[in-house]
Subunit: 306 residues, 5 copies
């Protein structure tokens, strides 16, 4: 038997039931770059970190900044919580698809036992005309018991309503910190696999960070592997299997890094990026500029047909 | 793209579904000052603090004191718990709208992990003829997981029944105390955004208090900002976006301060005030007097059409 | 506006929906003293304290002792748990009304975080022909979150089935102990208000005990007030507003004290008493004797028409 | 009024609704000794203690040993968990009634906060043709809140389906240990009353053990009473009121003790015994022998008509 | 009465309801060795341990490796979580039966209080055409209360839909560690019995490990028994009664050991094996080779007809 390279994954869309296929196709081919890649704009930092993320670009405090950006710059979709989906999205319906993020939390308490309860439902997503649902899963958290059980309900509702499921797969919690923390290759790789096995259609991953000191704390064989960041992200994308992978940006980094990461994930078989602060913490014209460069990279580095 | 000032927010009413619009309009235009502002009378201190709040004005221990005050002084609405809504409100139905406060708790246990469970429902509110529902959200509490999940149900029921949702957005809990406590600009700003993103139609905020010692403990950039209280409240109102903001009074302060705060919030784009002890801890005629001054301020400082 | 004295409360019955009114009227006017007062017999000590309460009068261990006493001495109602309501009450149906106590617990574990889950339902009460439902609320307990949420369901079911709700309003828990304990004027006053705001039709209160050492630990202004026990109970009755108040007896005290307390609560605007051990820890004829004196006091000291 | 001796309890059957009466009658009169007594065979030690209980008589590891014993020796009923009820009972249906034990747990974790969740339901019992349901209640455990709430559901389902409820009333938990432990007269007496008030039709009690050292730790008046074991069990049976009492055996003791205990409980007004290890830890013919002696004792010492 | 040897258990299939019988028969006779034995391929290590298990054979990271192996080597069934059941199984439907594993967790947090919540349901299994459901029960964990309650729902749904229930019976948790840990004869024996009594149709057991130091910590009589591994597994199989037993492999061991264990469990009356890493951590042709040897052993050592 000849084993195919994972980046030659079988088409995801062909495995999906009609509702999921219709909606996900919309994100992949009708909006955004349009070539089967995903360029997503997240705007949930107002709850995850608070309004402090908006100060570098005060205009961004008004949610319309991100909604207009998503619509005018041609995003595949915008991801936000229920409040903005109800009060801001209606003005942009038809101009950019919506991913309703159904759980979230503040960053005030420690994330030692991170867990985000749902504040909206798949039914809300259907009602609002969303094309996908987003869920944050804290992989490895001491409260994974509640997290996985809650995700079950969301996943089942997604199956019931034909709603694509995007999992924000975040390694987190005290036990993980003792094993090298949330940014190691080990942690991200585990999170990618976990999300796929739990039923994600799209997995949002952070970029693994190679740090020998932290890698030493991870379980074998990760603690002895010496891989480049490029190789690490390739492995993580493989771990997500048929689920599509979008790379998350995190706090604002320089342009070169943004584009390098984008190239890495696309060449690894990923399907796109979900950059928030790296985009909307910029003034309007600068934001449009980096978006254009990201879009070019997505178009130039496709290595997988979803 | 030209970014509008946030205080020039798009009309909230235009984004609301018919039931919410009908009911909220009643508070904004048919009762109270009547010019699209909100003058709300809260009477939940009997459970939140106990009867001790009534001693400065013994007459206030009888709930009829507040109900009569709300009806005769022309309030936009009165907010209370289920017991009084069932046993006292019927006599005043049609004279002043009711906001049914659906959760609450005593202040006997510490508020390190504050959380208020619901003691009534949106269905109760519908049955009693209420025009809105009130919910206390403890932003940043270690038990935010249960709080947000519970709020989800209330919010969904509000959507189902067309009931406006007023969120008492209170920063609270041990983790927040370590970041400067519940009264900083940081804390109130976060709470305002949180409430909006969770689906509030109206957000009740406390006045941020500028205290350099405490502000130092807040996350960047708040820890290095030097803003006036006026500017702080302006920012907090902005963070609530299209949701209307009403300012809460807290413990009794002097008249001048009451009126200054009222002016601040109105000029910042807020929609009104919700003062309890500052009003009903006064003897009847004095209460009417300060109410008149508050109402004048609401009429004089409108900067936003809801 | 002229503020009425609270003891001139508006009729409670006139505010109640038909089902509640019919059933509560039965207790107030068809059974017991019959003049709008309540003489209630509680028999839940077997679970709250265990059989040890029966040793002073061994005959009382057989539940028929209390059932016969309630029926033959002409009580307004008898309150018990589901087991006795199912196995003993049927023989006395029509002879004395039943208050089904729907929650309870043993006193074996500490009451630092007191909470009683329900062991029967309002539907059980309807099925068994009860005329009211009893619920113990531990005001100020660290687990008030679960208590208030549970009470919500009981209260809603009472509204649905027209079943009067009697709240055993007990201040309790470690946090309260640090503020002077469960017997202070502060604690009882808070409990009375809490029960009323949570929807009680009748509130069962313990007699506040004046103890300068403990009162010092209570919040202002209670810590500086010097009130008589008579005045304290008057204030507590006021805090219950339109809800009727019945005074609880606690452990067995001397006859004079029993009758003094009865007079105090009636003169304060209360509606009756609920004495258990003070009655059935006596031998049959002695029990009848003290009951007669209590009934006379209820008839002689009425100061409120329910 | 003349107070009857408790052992002259009114017939339990006459107070039961038709379904319960039919099924309980079957155990009392159609199977077992047949004179209104109960000879029950429990086989839940495999989960409560593990297979270690089977080593004294290896044949007993095969559940058929107990099923055959119950059927051939003429038991009133056999009590087991869902797995054996589904896989072994069908072969014996009609030969011996089934009590489905609906909760249980291993003894691996400490029993400081003992609590057994349900692993089957009253509906399962109905489906399997059981004639009663068994429930273990840990009286006085710190988790009594969950226990009583769970029991409520089981009890309500028993009322709904006419299924007799047998409560294994076990004093347990850290708080109880501090008051003398689970075997004192105080503890068993409390458990008996608790079970009756919670709605048991039949109560399973352990034999109280008189131990002056432990009794000193119990609450008054138990700490000063000097009663014989015979008197203690008599009081405990009284505390169960109209509910029938069956005595549990515990670990294997000598024959004389087994028969003495049986006589005590029957003379005290109890209705039978539920001995497991004392029976099936014996080789087949020895088991039949002791069963015969137990049965004779049940027939000889009846003091109550159920 | 003559007691049969447990390895001469009555046919399990004859006790099962039609749906369970039909599906389990498919695994036993239509697929796999086909002689009433079970050769199962588990692929849940990606969540239970993370992708680290795939490094010894990188090809195994792609789930198709295991799916093809299961289909082409003629397995009785393959067991996986919902994500892979939805995205990979459809291509192999009809070629190999599916066991949907309905719960799972990462190994990041400590297993001191191990508990796996469900991430899919029996209804999912029905929808996907699965022939059995898998559930991990952590026997002896401090959270057995939640585990047993959750299992109840899965078991009841299995009864409702006629879906065979396979229990992964794993002794686990801090209390068990203090009694010798998860691999002793005591622990595995208890787990086997527990699974059977909780309603398993098939029980997955780990091989007991004889270790005198650890055995000393187990309860009597285990602490004094000196049994061979062969005898220990025989006893454990007996404890599972009529439920079928499959032996689990654990981490990769040498071929001889794999085959010895297989022989042990089959001779003890077991029904097969469920080896994961011992199979798919091998390169394709090597995997096929060991599978062939295992299959031969299953065929050669049958001692029980299911």
């Amino acid at each position: 038997m000849e084993i195919k390279s994972v980046t030659e994954q079988k088409s995801l869309l062909s495995t999906l039931a009609p509702g999921k296929r219709t909606r996900l196709r919309r994100l992949l081919f009708e909006f955004g770059p349009g070539n089967g890649t995903l360029m997503l704009l997240p705007i949930d930092q107002g709850i995850e970190h608070g309004p402090r993320d908006f100060f570098p670009n005060p205009a961004s405090k008004d949610p319309e900044y991100q909604f207009r950006l998503a619509a005018e710059a041609g995003y595949s979709a915008l991801a936000c919580q229920i409040g903005m989906a109800e009060k801001y999205y209606p003005d942009y319906a038809g101009q950019v698809p919506l991913i309703l993020k159904v759980n979230g939390k503040t960053d005030v308490p420690s994330s030692d036992d991170a867990f985000s309860t749902t504040n909206s439902s798949v039914e809300d997503a259907v009602r609002l005309g969303a094309d996908a649902v987003g869920y944050t899963l804290y992989v490895g958290s001491p409260r994974q018991d509640r997290d996985l059980l809650q995700l079950r309900q969301v996943r089942q509702d997604c199956d019931r309503y034909g709603m694509p499921l995007v999992i924000w797969a975040y390694p987190r919690g005290a036990a993980l910190d003792a094993k090298g923390g949330q940014s190691t290759f080990y942690a991200i790789d585990y999170a990618a696999r976990m999300a796929m096995e739990m039923g994600a259609d799209v997995v949002k991953l952070n970029m693994p960070k190679i740090d020998p000191e932290k890698d030493k704390l991870t379980p074998a064989p990760y603690n002895e592997m010496q891989v480049s960041q490029e190789e690490a992200i390739r492995q993580c994308v493989e771990s997500a299997g048929r689920a599509l992978v979008v790379l998350s940006g995190g706090s604002k980094i320089d342009d070169e890094k943004v584009l390098e990461q984008t190239r890495f994930v696309m060449q690894a078989g990923g399907s796109g990026v979900i950059y928030g602060r790296n985009v909307w913490q910029r003034e309007w014209s600068e934001a449009l500029e980096i978006i254009e460069q990201i879009k070019e990279s997505l178009l130039a580095n496709v290595s997988r047909i979803p």
